[in-house]
């Protein structure tokens, strides 16, 4: 991964973690604040409901007071006295009074507790009210809850009991309002609050015992009433107020917080008559929470994108000089010593760039100096070799000419004979001089390779075939030639004649190195997308110093070598964009290893690496 990408990743990760952390923090704080607010709100709503409930109770008391004080009741109380309560006159009385005073329940009881008139169960006239004892005890008290039994059902009501006394015995008036949908709907509550009533009639939770003013819409739409069962059962068990969140659907917006209030009767055992469920929707909270989350996601996402863009820009600004330095360093590595990078600003990277430029300048200068030094050394070596080469034939020439001059002066009679012998010697040495000059001329005229698809194994075979006669020269120790060729290697782009010539030079050197015979091995193989050719001998081997200098022109370890053979070989291999090196130890033979590029790209006229230029921003 590049430095720029690393920097970018670090930037993005940092921003992501920061945004996530901030979003989580905001959400946690919001949730905490909302929960506190929700608890406060629930408490306020419950308080509001209770005051509203009490207000309704007071209203019931007022209405029952009015009924008890009505003229009809007073007359009735006076008329009843101790007479039979079964009177046709009173059958409709309770009902008409209940209607006129807007009461759902109204019973008139005589002092024995027998029903004189009943609005909710008219047919029960004359029968005793089973709850008379409780009712009588509740007379003149505030409103209370009572489960009113009727013919085929029972209903929870908010009751009040008052007495009317016009004769010896009082008449009891027990009136109330049914805790039904209308009652719950009439409660003046906040718009998003609803009140449900569960009538605690059965041991098991039953959905039809739940009174919901909004059952035709909200609850049915929201979900089954059974979802309230756990809360109802919990209140039954714990006998105290409880709160719970009800999930009407998988959507969080449909959650509703319910606060359950147990409602008890006034009988001695204070039976649990019902459970009031004050609910309010969490929709506003959830929606706000979602808005915060969405905003955080949007801000986070935007921040990340922005951070990526800015990070990319910043990373580019930071890494561009470094990348340029890296590219320049690579250029230098491939030998382009003159590569330079642009120096921007005055920071550490700029100093690094300046140092780089200074380094390359210094390297270039050193290279120039080295080249000059080498050139001088080469000239010196050339001069030495040339002097050495020329000195050898010149000395016989000088001796021959001096011998001629001496013969003419001292022995003229032998001069012709001496002249004839000397002439032959002079011609031979002059021919020798010509040969020396021709070799030097040949080295300077190394032709450019004419590339074509060449089978290296074929070239190796040709070389082996060429020297076949010299491997077994009579009177000399034989040399065994081995061919270890890899048949799977591809053809390469090469000049077959130059390659043949280079390999022939190496074979000649090998033969020279094995005067006592030995083994010459010619190998080919494929390695790292290169074709490797080895020419190995079992000759005398080379010292490490000889290994270092063996490819230097005019260096030779042989008695009569010119020192140009391996230089020519290296030149040929280099022109084929290959490399040559030698592995050798004294007495253990030498192995020359040639690496040639496998692809035939050179056939397309690929430029030599020396021709390449590295773009360096100046």
């Amino acid at each position: 991964m590049s430095l720029r990408r690393k920097l970018l990743a670090v930037f993005a990760l940092t921003v992501l973690l920061t945004v996530t952390g901030v979003a989580w923090l905001i959400q946690a704080v919001t949730r905490n604040a909302f929960e506190k607010d929700e608890n406060r709100r629930t408490a306020a709503l419950v308080s509001q409901f209770q005051s509203e409930f009490n207000r309704q109770g007071e209203e019931v008391v007022r209405r029952v007071d009015r009924v008890a004080g009505s003229e009809a009741l007073t007359r009735m109380a006076a008329a009843l006295g101790g007479a039979s309560v079964e009177s046709a006159e009173y059958l409709e009385l309770a009902r008409s009074l209940a209607e006129s005073h807007q009461l759902d329940f109204l019973e008139v009881l005589d002092w024995r507790g027998n029903i004189v008139s009943s609005a909710q169960w008219p047919a029960k006239y004359g029968y005793p009210d089973t709850a008379f004892e409780t009712l009588a005890a509740s007379a003149a008290q505030s409103a209370f809850l009572k489960l009113e039994e009727m013919q085929d059902s029972s209903a929870l009501g908010l009751f009040a009991v008052r007495t009317t006394r016009s004769a010896e015995h009082p008449v009891y008036v027990a009136g109330g309002r049914r805790l039904d949908k209308e009652f719950l709907s009439a409660l003046n509550l906040a718009p998003d609050v609803r009140v449900l009533l569960y009538q605690n009639r059965d041991q098991q939770f039953a959905a039809d015992l739940l009174i919901d003013p909004s059952s035709s819409s909200t609850l049915e739409r929201a979900g089954p009433a059974e979802k309230l069962a756990p809360l109802v059962q919990a209140v039954r068990r714990s006998d105290r107020e409880m709160s719970a969140i009800v999930n009407w659907s998988s959507a969080e917006e449909d959650q509703e917080v319910f606060h359950a209030i147990p409602l008890r009767g006034v009988a001695k055992d204070r039976p649990l008559l019902g459970i009031l469920l004050v609910g309010h929707s969490r929709r506003s909270y959830v929606e706000l929470k979602h808005r915060i989350r969405d905003a955080a996601l949007l801000a986070g996402g935007g921040g990340i994108v922005l951070a990526v863009l800015l990070g990319s820009w910043a990373a580019a600004r930071v890494t561009r000089p470094v990348e340029e330095l890296a590219a320049a360093a690579q250029e230098v590595a491939v030998g382009r010593w003159g590569t330079r990078v642009e120096v921007r600003g005055h920071d550490e990277v700029a100093q690094l760039a300046a140092s780089f430029n200074q380094m390359t300048t210094e390297l270039l200068a050193q290279k120039e100096r080295l080249v000059q030094t080498e050139r001088v050394a080469a000239w010196r070596e050339l001069a030495r070799r040339l002097a050495h080469e020329l000195k050898n034939p010149l000395f016989p020439l000088q001796l021959t000419v001096e011998n001629l001059m001496r013969a003419r002066n001292q022995t003229p009679e032998q001069f012709d004979e001496v002249f004839r012998e000397s002439s032959q010697t002079l011609l031979a040495e002059i021919a020798n001089l010509k040969g020396i000059i021709a070799r030097f001329s040949e080295f300077s005229k190394m032709p450019a390779p004419q590339l074509q698809a060449v089978d290296v194994n074929e070239v190796l075979g040709g070389v082996a075939q060429l020297f076949q006669a010299q491997f077994k020269v009579p009177g000399k120790a034989a040399v065994e030639c081995r061919l270890e060729l890899d048949g799977k290697i591809q053809r390469i782009a090469a000049d077959p004649e130059l390659l043949h010539r280079a390999l022939s030079n190496l074979v000649l050197n090998a033969l020279d190195a094995m005067p006592s015979g030995g083994t010459l091995t010619l190998r080919s193989r494929r390695e790292n997308q290169k074709v490797v050719v080895e020419v190995a001998d079992t000759g005398s081997g080379l010292t490490p110093e000889e290994c270092e200098r063996i490819f230097t022109p005019y260096y030779t370890s042989k008695q009569h070598g010119t020192g140009l053979g391996l230089a020519i070989v290296q030149s040929v291999i280099s022109d084929h964009q290959g490399r040559i090196n030698v592995r050798s130890e004294p007495g253990k033979g030498s192995t020359f290893v040639i690496e040639l590029p496998e692809n035939g790209g050179a056939l397309g006229g690929e430029r030599s690496p020396r021709d390449k230029t590295v773009p360096v921003r100046g």
Partner: protein, 454 residues
Amino acid sequence: MKRSGWRWRVISVLLTVASAANAATRPQYGGTLRVAMRASPSSLDPAEISEAIGGRNVTALIFDRLVTTGADGRVQGALAESWEISPADQRVQIRLRPNVKFHDGSPLTAEAAAASLRKGNPGWTVTPAGDLVIIEPGVSADELLQVLALPRNAIAKRDSGNNISGTGPFRVADWQAGKKLTLAANEDYWAGRPFLDQIEIEMGRSFRDQMNALESGRAQLVEVAPEQVRRLGAPRYEVLQSSPVELVALRFAGDAASVQQKNVRDALRFSLERHSMHTVLLQGAGQASASLLPLWMSGYAFVFPTEADLARARQLRDQVPGAPSLMIGYDNNDPMARLLAERIALNAKDAGLWVQLNAEGEELRLLRIPLASSNPRTALESLNRQLGLPAIAGKSQSIEDLFSAEQTALASGRVIPLFHLPLAYACAASVRDWAVAPDGSLSLVNAWLKSQQP
């Protein structure tokens, strides 16, 4: 001269006042009478219409019967001018009243009358012969005449297009089945054109709705629940009620299948506080009764005890293992039926029986059945048929035989009579000369509307 002129003026004024007073009591033609009723019949065919009183009131206005029953229970001629009973008492020859026309203008013929009777009585042999209709019903002639007086035997002419035509005082002007019926005066009515031009009958209205309609002037003649009659009492309405002609009873779906079941039924019967219900719930209307026929009709109803015997009821209930329960059904549109059912359930509970209310229940059902005739035997026959009881054996009309027949019917344990209630109607003061027939049906043939002019 001056004295003479003054006298003439006085005489003139007196004559004018006398004339006006006379006009107020003299029947007047014209006007539309608006009536409301509870029944909502879906057909006007007398052979299909139920024997409920609402159906009787409607058919009596459109159709005539050959004979009718008077207040004394005796048969009177209507479309039948005369009749002759064969010596063997197997055949009746009825001579039709001449010049009677159906509402479609066609004359009443023996063929039309015979066809109408055959429709309502498929078992009879009815033969037209000139202006005579000869009936061989397979029952006694006296009984036949009582049956002919039943509303279902009103003479109707039916054509292939499902149109029906009568000979009654009013013809059908508009009919919205079960909702509204508009009748127009039959100009050619054989007994003379009725005074009213039109009668509009709103159907399917509860007692409360009818009373509201009467009070608001939207109706001039309405039915009144018997228990409400005592409270009505307003001088601006004329209230008429019949003799108790409607039986209120509990009917079991079938015979008792076991001794235990019979004990349960008897326990229920003994637990019922008829007098309390009659006094309080029914506000004293009608009579508490343990017999099928009312006292005024049979004369022996008092023999059947109406008092509750809770001890006996509990004793019977204790002979039944387990917790016996019953489901009582009632007419959901009748508030009084609901009240009675609730009280019956309370009484039963006192005896240890668990009775639940279910309006649709058929196992035990609270019924209100109008008496079909003022003739005891015919009425009992009709009751037995409607209650699913066996027909009366023999042809005797004697009280002893009727008593015996009723004892047999009650002994079956399938029915528990509770009350006999009258039928009551309230009418605006502007409606005059209306009456309630002995069978409780309205008689509007001679009704007329008093002019509202001062």
